[in-house]
C-alpha cells in the first residue's frame, strides 16, 4: 500500500539534499565559509570577491534556494498538529521567508555581484564584502522571532508532537541569533563576524540542533496517525459525502 505521507517525506528528504548542496557550495567551491576576516588584506579580499567560483556558487545557491520553502513546510505541518495558536505557525512561516531574503538572498547578490563584472573599484568591492557577511551573519531579528515561535509552540503544546527538551534547545537557537549581534560593532577578535563567540560558538550550537530537530521531526511524521493527516480526505474510500476540510487557518 502506498504511503499516505509521501508528500511529507518528499519535503523531509528535500532538506538533507538541500543542506548538502549548501555545504558544498559554501565551503569547498567558494570558501565563503568559514567567514573571512573583516580585516582581510585588500588584495586577498579583491581576489575572493572577483573569483569565478564565487559567481558560480552564488548562481547555484540562488537557484536551489527554492527548495528551502519545501523543506520548511515540514515544520509548519508539525506545528499545525500542536495545541497552540496559529499565530506561532504564521510567525514561523513569515519569519523564515523574511529571514531567508535578508540572510540568504542579500549575501548571494552581494557576493555574486562582485564576481559578475571585473573592474569594480576596491572600495565598492569592500562594501559588497561587508554587506554580504553582515547580512549573512548579522541578520538577526527574523530568525530570532522565528525560532522563538517554534520553541514556544513546542513548549506550550499539550499534544506532545515534539519533545519538550527540543523546545528548550530551540530557545538557545534563538539565543545564538542574539549572540551574533556584536558583529555590527567588532571588526576583530572573538566578537567579529568570523569570531570565536559569534560564529564558531553559534555554529557549535546550531549544527547539532539542526540534525537533532530533523531526527525529532522524522519520528514525529512517522508517529502521526494516518487518519489525522491533513490529506486524509484524499484517501477516503467512499466519495459519497464531501469530506474535504473547509479552508481553515
Amino acid at each position: 500500500m502506498k504511503s499516505k505521507k509521501r508528500d511529507q517525506w518528499i519535503a523531509f528528504w528535500m532538506v538533507p539534499a538541500f543542506f548538502n548542496v549548501f555545504g558544498l557550495v559554501f565551503v569547498p567551491l567558494s570558501w565563503m565559509m568559514p567567514p573571512r576576516s573583516p580585516n582581510a588584506p585588500e588584495p586577498q579580499m579583491i581576489s575572493f570577491m572577483q573569483s569565478h567560483n564565487l559567481l558560480i556558487a552564488c548562481a547555484l545557491l540562488t537557484l536551489v534556494y527554492g527548495f528551502a520553502p519545501v523543506g520548511n513546510s515540514i515544520y509548519l505541518i508539525q506545528i499545525k498538529r500542536m495545541s497552540v495558536s496559529p499565530v506561532f505557525r504564521y510567525t514561523l512561516m513569515v519569519g523564515s521567508i523574511t529571514g531567508a531574503i535578508v540572510g540568504m538572498l542579500f549575501p548571494m547578490f552581494c557576493f555574486g555581484l562582485g564576481a559578475f563584472r571585473s573592474g569594480y573599484r576596491p572600495s565598492i568591492l569592500l562594501m559588497l564584502y561587508d554587506f554580504g557577511y553582515l547580512a549573512f551573519i548579522g541578520s538577526l531579528g527574523c530568525f530570532c522571532i522565528m525560532w522563538m515561535a517554534f520553541a514556544l509552540a513546542i513548549i506550550l503544546d499539550q499534544n506532545n508532537v515534539l519533545p519538550k527538551w527540543l523546545g528548550y534547545y530551540t530557545l538557545w537557537q534563538y539565543v545564538t541569533e542574539l549572540m551574533a549581534a556584536p558583529v555590527w560593532i567588532s571588526k576583530s577578535g572573538p566578537f567579529a563576524w568570523n569570531g570565536l563567540m559569534t560564529f564558531w560558538f553559534a555554529m557549535a550550537l546550531y549544527v547539532p540542533w539542526q540534525i537533532i530537530v530533523y531526527v525529532c521531526i522524522y519520528r514525529s511524521i512517522k508517529n502521526q496517525p494516518d487518519d489525522e493527516l491533513e490529506s486524509a480526505w484524499l484517501h477516503q474510500t467512499s466519495p459519497a459525502t464531501d469530506v474535504r476540510p473547509k479552508a481553515t487557518a
Binding site: 519538550k164 528548550y168 534547545y169 549572540m179 572573538p190 566578537f191 560558538f201
Partner: protein, 190 residues
C-alpha cells in the same frame, strides 16, 4: 496536599525538561566564562583597567538582591509543598519584588556607563561585560515572567501545581548562580 508533596519528592523537583535547559544553559555560560578567562589572560592590564570603571556598589547590591529573592522563592516552594498556599503566594510575591529590583538597578548601572561613553565597542572587556550581563538580564526578565505564572497558578488554581513552582524555582536559582559567577569574574577578580 501531603500526597502531592510526597509524589513530587520521589522524582527530581520540577519538570525534567527544565533540568535539561538548566544544565545546557550552564554549559553555554560556562563556554563564555572560559572564553572570557582566555582573553583576559591575553591582555590582563586592559581588562583590569576597564574593570575598575564598573560600578561595584550596584553590582554588590544586585548580588544581595538576587540572593534574597532566591531565598524567598525557595521558602515559597517549601510553603507550596507544605500546602500553605497563602504563605507560598506571599513568599513568591516578595521574591518577585526583589527580582524586579534587579533590572531597575541594572538600568542605573547601564545608562550612566553608556552616557559616559562606555559601550560594547570601547574594548574587549566591555564587549564581554555587555554581552554576558545582557544575556543574563534576558534570563532575569524571563524568570520574572515565570515567577508571575507560578504566583498566578498558586492564587487561582483549585489544586496548585507544585511541579510548576519547583520548575520556576529551579530556573530562578540558576539565574542567581550565573550572576554570582558573573559578579566574581567581571567585578571582583583581580
Amino acid at each position: 496536599m501531603t500526597a502531592v508533596a510526597t509524589t513530587a519528592r520521589r522524582s527530581i523537583p520540577g519538570a525534567p525538561s527544565m533540568w535539561f535547559f538548566v544544565i545546557g544553559d550552564l554549559i553555554i555560560f560556562g563556554c563564555y566564562f572560559v572564553a572570557y578567562m582566555y582573553y583576559r589572560g591575553q591582555d590582563h592590564t586592559l581588562f583590569l583597567h576597564s574593570q575598575a570603571r564598573l560600578n561595584l556598589d550596584i553590582g554588590a547590591i544586585n548580588t544581595i538582591v538576587l540572593i534574597t529573592s532566591s531565598l524567598f522563592v525557595a521558602l515559597g516552594t517549601a510553603a507550596a509543598r507544605a500546602g500553605t498556599v497563602t504563605d507560598a503566594v506571599r513568599l513568591f510575591g516578595i521574591g518577585l519584588g526583589f527580582g524586579a529590583a534587579f533590572p531597575l538597578l541594572k538600568l542605573f548601572e547601564y545608562v550612566p556607563e553608556i552616557v559616559g561613553g562606555v559601550t560594547p565597542g570601547t574594548n574587549l572587556f566591555f564587549m564581554f561585560y555587555f554581552v554576558m550581563t545582557g544575556m543574563h538580564l534576558c534570563h532575569v526578565l524571563l524568570g520574572l515572567v515565570v515567577i508571575s505564572f507560578v504566583i498566578r497558578n498558586l492564587r487561582t488554581a483549585p489544586t496548585p501545581n507544585i511541579s510548576l513552582a519547583e520548575t520556576g524555582a529551579t530556573y530562578w536559582h540558576m539565574v542567581d548562580l550565573l550572576w554570582l559567577v558573573l559578579f566574581a569574574l567581571l567585578y571582583l577578580m583581580r
